[in-house]
């Protein structure tokens, strides 16, 4: 491994370090900015390090908007109520809205991830290992729809969500993500790599279809599922567009939308925005650093085999 010339290695190291600094910069700026006073954040020459650390921005973030921590709706009640709003069974204590936004975002991303992985793993198995009429048609449809940006169908989607009484709920963001066929495609490619004999051996032993899937197939495609889980989690976390068009109530916002709304105010309070951005970014970064090994392992296994 020492074959590369020394000069090249030093050159690339320096370049990578410079790039790394550039990539760290936005986060650095967000975090230091969130502690700067209004004067420094509005300064016309860059203030690299706050001369005076203040918590005022965070206090503002925590006091400006309030929302209940959670509301659990009675399932399907929106279909029976007069105005289409669901009956709330349980309401949490009032907290700063940013906390609720973060919770909404986590909920949305986790629900998308779990639902996508489950449905896609099953569908991928079926498309890879089962022979049945219509299989090719479905698969072709999936391939064609795979790279489609959601904006394309935004108008019909809004109308549909409204007639299903899902508009302005997190479900309206989650379901289209789950319906997105990329996961199915990935899982199908992955499942094809599993030897058919193993599946058949299990069937011959008398195991039910479901058991074959859970006991034989699923453990083998686990790395692929991991890759899909991470891909879905990150992309739904960052899927600003669906959130923008589907969510309108303050309490239903995600953290990205919450920050974007602050930015859109008439007189932009950058300190507040930085505090919001830091509040949104830091938890997920900590999670990412802790689970880095799983993250990277999951992602790679999927791609290498798929």
């Amino acid at each position: 491994m020492n074959k590369k010339s020394k000069a090249y290695r030093i050159f690339s190291l320096v370049l990578v370090i410079i790039l790394a600094l550039l990539f760290t910069f936005p986060l650095y700026w967000i975090i230091t900015g969130s502690f700067k006073t209004g004067k420094e954040i509005n300064s016309t020459t860059p203030v690299w390090w706050p001369s005076e650390w203040t918590l005022k921005n965070y206090q503002k973030l925590m006091s400006k908007f309030k929302a209940p921590l959670f509301e659990i709706a009675i399932p399907f009640s929106q279909y029976f109520s007069e105005d289409g709003t669901p009956a709330i069974g349980l309401t949490g204590p009032t907290v700063p809205a940013a906390v609720r936004w973060l919770l909404n975002t986590v909920w949305m991303a986790v629900a998308s991830m779990l639902l996508t992985c489950l449905t896609a793993a099953m569908a991928g198995y079926s498309l890879a290992k089962k022979r049945f009429v219509g299989r090719n048609l479905i698969f072709t449809l999936i391939v064609c729809a795979m790279a489609l940006p959601k904006q394309v169908i935004l108008i019909p989607l809004i109308r549909e969500m409204s007639s299903l009484k899902l508009y302005n709920t997190l479900s309206a963001v989650v379901y289209p993500i789950v319906g997105w066929p990329f996961g199915v495609f990935l899982m199908k490619q992955f499942s094809e790599g599993i030897p058919t004999e193993m599946v058949e051996a299990c069937r011959i032993d008398g195991a039910s279809e479901w058991r074959t899937f859970t006991d034989v197939m699923f453990p083998m495609i686990k790395p692929g599922v991991g890759a899909l889980a991470i891909f879905t989690f990150i992309s739904s976390w960052n899927d600003y567009f669906m959130q923008l068009i589907m969510l309108s109530s303050n309490r239903n916002l995600t953290i990205s939308l919450g920050i974007a709304n602050m930015q859109a105010e008439n007189q932009t309070d950058f300190g507040l925005i930085m505090a919001g951005a830091a509040f949104a970014a830091v938890p997920i970064i900590i999670v990412f650093v802790i689970f880095q090994k799983y993250f990277t392992k999951g992602i790679t296994m999927g791609a290498v085999k798929g």
Binding site: T119, A123, Q151, L154, P156, M274, A303
Partner: protein, 301 residues
């Protein structure tokens, strides 16, 4: 053999049922939230459909499409969309491969650290990152003008996002930084999984680094490359937040993408039928592109 044909048929029926049952949950979501709206989109695109409580859609056949191909803004948006994809996808792939090969030989903790750093813009979230970039590009006090002026490269401030010559490139740069995280992680692991015995054998045979890379490693990381191509293409087509938050498609529609223009047509001009027609055109382009990519992938297998 004849005797068992009844059994086979039974088995086949069973397999069909099982096949569809496993497919069902996914299919429900796919058909309801992707395919159905897609058909509605195609259907509405033949109507003059506007906002209004009592507005009646009138059938105008291909009217929307005819207008579309004379709409300079739409054609510009289409060009920008293609440009973003054509520029972003290869550069993201090449850049992440280069970074990955540069950091993969380092000490494990260093590799991890760099991996995390390049992933940061992805996990920070596009809205938060955009806020900072907006400040960096600022005409009056942004860091780029500050540094470039300090170094004497420019003597007059450049209005990065306000100048039609630079705005789209500025957006591509942000898109780039938020896209390379995942490919780098993928490549680092893919390079780590390359069969070392092959590499060593080649080195014994006196192959140069370049030859080892292209002849052995490249082939082995091909599946990763394909996967990266697919996810980066998807990502680039979906570039919306950056445009909505930074330029609203301006100046002079120079940063309009089809995705943004659909949103603009629908919610600023209230022309739903027309917006849907744009969606259909984009759908066709993307479906063709996906098919090509998929065929390429199959050829590689």
């Amino acid at each position: 053999m004849r005797k068992s044909s009844g059994l086979t048929q039974n088995l086949r029926r069973q397999e069909t049922i099982a096949g569809y049952l496993f497919l069902l949950p996914s299919l429900v979501f796919f058909l309801t939230f992707v395919v159905y709206p897609m058909f509605m989109c195609i259907y509405t695109s033949f109507f003059d459909s506007n906002m209004g409580k009592d507005a009646v859609d009138t059938f105008i056949g291909l009217g929307n499409y005819k207008e579309l191909f004379q709409d300079k803004v739409f054609l510009g948006a289409l060009r920008n969309t293609v440009l973003i994809v054509v520029v972003a996808v290869p550069t993201v792939c090449a850049f992440s491969l280069w970074v990955a090969s540069a950091i993969t030989d380092m000490k494990p903790w260093l590799t991890s650290a760099f991996r995390v750093i390049f992933y940061l813009p992805v996990v920070t979230g596009s809205v938060a990152v955009t806020v900072v970039w907006k400040w960096m590009y600022n005409n009056y006090y942004g860091i780029f003008n500050y540094l470039l002026k300090g170094m004497g490269v420019i003597d007059k401030n450049i209005n990065w996002l306000g100048d039609a010559r630079y705005a789209l490139w500025c957006i591509i740069i942000i898109l780039f930084t938020t896209s390379v995280g995942q490919p780098i992680v993928l490549y680092v692991s893919a390079l780590g999984n390359v069969d070392t015995s092959l590499v060593e054998a080649a080195e014994v045979d006196g192959a140069t680094q370049m030859q080892v890379f292209w002849k052995i490693k490249w082939a082995q990381i091909m599946p990763t490359t394909l996967y990266i191509l697919v996810i980066t293409t998807i990502n680039s087509f979906q570039c919306f937040a950056l445009i909505q938050l930074l330029t609203s498609g301006g100046p002079n529609h120079s940063t309009d993408t089809v995705m943004y223009y659909i949103y603009y047509t629908a919610f600023k001009l209230y022309r739903y039928g027309y917006g849907n027609a744009m969606g259909v055109v984009l759908m066709i382009i993307i479906a063709l592109l996906s098919a090509v990519q998929f065929k390429l992938g199959q050829a590689q297998d």
